[in-house]
Symmetry: C2
Subunit: 107 residues, 2 copies
């Protein structure tokens, strides 16, 4: 990715997952990420990691082309499926709006 345009939405999500359902959650999240970036033109980046010192703590860095792209994502079938199937697994969810300084990755 190059310099983010000002209208891009870039956010961090911090999730705490029920340990008993962690493997299922991870599989559903990976499915959702894979589909979103592949199918939706406005989903630019979805990076999900587990904190090593507590793998039930998941962190996401998300980038959307603009607000409309984000709202379309929330209505996509893969996101709605993920949201419904994981509702009882997610014990905590915090969303943080951010302003990108620089996003750089190998091509």
């Amino acid at each position: 990715m190059t310099e983010p345009a000002p209208k891009q939405l870039v956010r961090i999500a911090e999730l705490g997952i029920d340990p008993a359902q962690l493997e299922t959650f991870r599989a559903l999240l990976a499915e959702e990420i894979e589909a979103s970036v592949r199918v939706e033109p406005g989903v630019l980046m979805l990076h999900a990691v587990a904190m090593r010192d507590d793998p039930t703590q998941i962190r996401l860095l998300e980038a959307y082309a603009d607000k409309a792209a984000y709202e379309a994502h929330l209505q996509s079938p893969h996101f709605l499926r993920y949201k419904a199937l994981t509702a009882a697994m997610v014990l905590s969810l915090r969303l943080f709006e951010t302003d990108p300084i620089l996003l750089r990755a190998k091509a």
Copy 2:
């Protein structure tokens, strides 16, 4: 990026910056990121964002090809320059090792 190989190092850094030096810090960080991803084959991704509710709080998501690539990065001239010039600007620094679940971005 595709599925991360197990030997990849993916980490999160949380930095708190002296508000009086924030603009200078941001410029030095952006320089360092740009040079690292451009010049170093083993620096796969460096994403830096500022938290909107407190822009002195910076978050980075970093991916290196392996431990050797990370250690080479720490000895690179651009990283050493960044580290020296920002030492007095960084009020707090926490590093978290992570295990990637899935890292996906548009090509």
